[in-house]
């Protein structure tokens, strides 16, 4: 019996030894293969110049207050980031921003490789200086129209009456809250321009008498105080877009786009991502011209007087 045990022990020892040698051989083989193949590069990854994909995300619905901004819920952001990482095969640095002004700076400095933008920022991003290309439509709101509101009891009857008035606007970069109202106020000297983060804050400012008129988007819920519209802009508001930086537009971005299209069903509904639909650049053209025109003017500062003056394009 002892002899049998010895034989079994010896057999086990040999088996273990052979297994270890097998593992060593495999390691050796993997070393040789790795040295022959060099650095693996799938060629499918879509990364920015610094090795990561920098993604900007702005709520496509401009001027919502923070409490109604579903896009910035934790789980939404995390899932969205995972989806982008899978599509790009690259480390994703997602930057959700509430401020269109900050987003505008990011786009101007080309600090994003990919961005999901509302209409105003899309028009800004497509300017030659920013150099972004539109890839997909973000169709969220098609009832937007830019207006200028005053209290129903206000003495202001026409737009021209606002000369010397105090105006409330959204931050630079907003289409219905900044570019279009300013475009329509061209030629007026304003006593004060005050910025707010959202339309609710603007309405409160109007109600509290801190401003005489405010920018407004007609797609917002009806105002809680009696108000009157001095003017409603006639320009059709196009949809937002997914845009790609000039550098990445030269790379092979089609697998990334296909992956996004394929997973569009899992994308958050608030984003309004429309798979396979290219933005209509013709439709964006008038808006792009307005944004370009307003951007070339001197910009108003918060709580400062401002004369709305500059070369105005007729569109």
């Amino acid at each position: 019996m002892a002899w049998l045990g010895f034989v079994n022990g010896q057999h086990k020892g040999i088996t273990t030894w052979l297994a270890l040698m097998g593992k060593a051989c495999l390691l050796m083989l993997s070393l040789l293969l790795a040295s022959c193949s060099g650095t693996l590069n799938t060629g499918k990854a879509l990364c920015g110049p610094n090795g990561a994909l920098r993604v900007g995300l702005i709520d496509p619905r401009e001027g919502l207050d923070a409490s109604s901004q579903q896009p910035f819920a934790n789980q939404d952001i995390e899932n969205f980031q995972t989806m982008l990482a899978q599509a790009s095969q690259c480390e994703v640095r997602l930057e959700p921003l509430r401020s269109t002004d900050r987003a505008r700076e990011r786009l101007a400095d080309q600090e994003w490789d990919v961005a999901f933008l509302p209409p105003g920022l899309t028009a800004f991003a497509l300017q030659q200086s920013a150099g972004y290309s539109p890839l997909r439509v973000l169709s969220v709101n098609q009832t937007s129209r830019a207006s200028i509101l005053v209290l129903a009891s206000s003495r202001f009857q026409r737009l021209a009456d606002l000369n010397g008035a105090r105006i409330g606007l959204l931050r630079r970069g907003s289409l219905t809250g900044f570019y279009l109202p300013l475009y329509n106020l061209h030629g007026l000297s304003l006593n004060q321009v005050t910025f707010a983060l959202n339309y609710t804050a603007l309405l409160n400012m109007l109600k509290d008498g801190k401003v005489d008129a405010i920018a407004w988007d007609n797609s917002q819920a009806p105002a809680s105080v009696p108000v009157r519209s001095l003017t409603t802009d006639t320009h059709k508001i196009p949809m937002g877009a997914l845009v790609l930086s000039g550098a990445l537009a030269k790379a092979n971005y089609l697998p990334f786009l296909k992956s996004l299209d394929d997973s569009s069903g899992q994308m958050p509904a608030w984003l309004g991502y429309a798979a396979t639909i290219l933005p209509n650049q013709q439709e964006l053209q008038p808006l792009k011209a307005i944004v370009e025109s307003v951007e070339s003017w001197e910009m108003p500062l918060d709580k400062q007087p401002h004369r709305v003056f500059g070369r105005k394009v007729g569109v």
Binding site: I14, L20, M21, K23, A24, C25, L27, M28, S30, L31, A34, S35, N50, G51, A52, A66, S67, F72, N74, I77, E78, Q81, T82, A85, Q86, Q89, C90, E91, R93, L94, E95, P96, L97, R98, S99, D101, R102, E105, R171, F195, L197, L301, D302, K303, Q304
Partner: protein, 314 residues
């Protein structure tokens, strides 16, 4: 039986020339040695690669901490007043902005840094890009539940693969942090206009609000290990090959050549013993002993042959 067979194979059973046997034995022994070395070094270099990455990560975090302090003490007092108005918010006054921006420059400075990523993940950040995800929130929660813990390292699985990470807590230590992070009323208006008034507030002194996290793809760890291992194995193979060649040459010069000479002389001696002299008998080594034996055998043979001749005389 198998072990005996292996012993015979390695030790030689006389079926091969010595030189061939030596080469074969050395090849088997050296290959076995290399495989054992691979197994051991695979573990060792794995630890070393991780250790190097951890050291580098801690160095990065120390550097970024220094950048944060510099920003807090020297840049913020200059820039912060500019943010009081309603103009554009200057993020250069914010320590975390400086740290992450400097890291981006650092990352671009050397190819070996490119795989590292640095985040200042925060539970309730001003800029939502710094918002901690579920995994990062768990790391921060660990720091908050055990404040004595200074570093956490580990592995993290992501859709892009496994990452090795090193994390350290971010603690609110200065009152100046609370200007932007206590209540929206205290925060500069430009900050509110840039980032809103709903996040990044409610921080308290000595509270752990986030974590510095340096991440590296596990592939980088494996690659560093593989490169070290491959270099060592190639070096060992080169050294063993040189040893085998030298051993073979020594065997040839010390044993095989003299033996071949003695063998040739012995053949001659078997016919004409008087004409052959085993000059190697003067050597003190085993070849000398063999030559002496052959010399004695030659002399015995000569005597025997002489005796045989004498008997045949009439």
């Amino acid at each position: 039986m198998k072990i005996t067979g292996l012993k015979m194979f390695l030790g030689g059973d006389g079926s091969r020339p010595l030189r061939k046997q030596l080469s074969l034995t050395l090849a088997v022994v050296f290959t076995g040695s290399i495989l054992v070395v691979i197994l051991l070094l695979d573990q060792l270099f794995g630890w070393q690669a991780k250790d190097l990455i951890n050291q580098r990560s801690v160095f990065f975090m120390d550097t970024m901490l220094a950048v944060r302090q510099y920003t807090s003490k020297q840049v913020n007092p200059v820039i912060a007043p500019l943010n009081e108005g309603g103009g554009a918010f200057r993020p250069e006054a914010v320590p975390s902005y400086s740290a992450t921006t400097v890291f981006e420059y650092l990352r671009g400075s050397k190819p070996e840094y490119k795989e590292y990523s640095y985040r200042e993940a925060t539970l309730n950040p001003t800029n939502l890009k710094d918002k901690s995800d579920t995994f990062e929130s768990e790391v921060i929660a660990s720091f908050r539940s055990s404040p004595a813990q200074k570093v956490i390292t580990g592995e993290r699985n992501t859709p892009l693969g496994s990452y090795h990470f090193v994390a350290r807590p971010i603690k609110v230590t200065s009152q100046s942090c609370l200007v932007c992070h206590s209540t929206p009323d205290r925060a500069p208006r430009s900050q509110i206009l840039a980032y809103g008034d709903s996040n990044g507030f409610g921080w308290k002194i000595d509270e752990i609000v986030g974590a510095q996290i340096v991440s590296v793809p596990q592939n980088t760890v494996f690659r560093a290990k593989r490169e070290s291992l491959l270099a060592t194995v190639l070096l060992l193979a080169a050294v063993f090959s040189a040893v085998a060649l030298v051993a073979n040459s020594i065997l040839n010069r010390l044993i095989l050549q003299p033996m071949r000479l003695i063998s040739k002389k012995a053949e001659e001696a078997s016919v004409t013993p008087s004409t052959v002299s085993f000059t190697e008998k003067n050597r003190a080594d085993e070849i000398g002993q063999l030559a002496k034996s052959f010399e004695r055998m030659k002399q015995s043979l000569a005597i025997s042959m002489q005796m045989l001749k004498d008997r045949q005389k009439p």
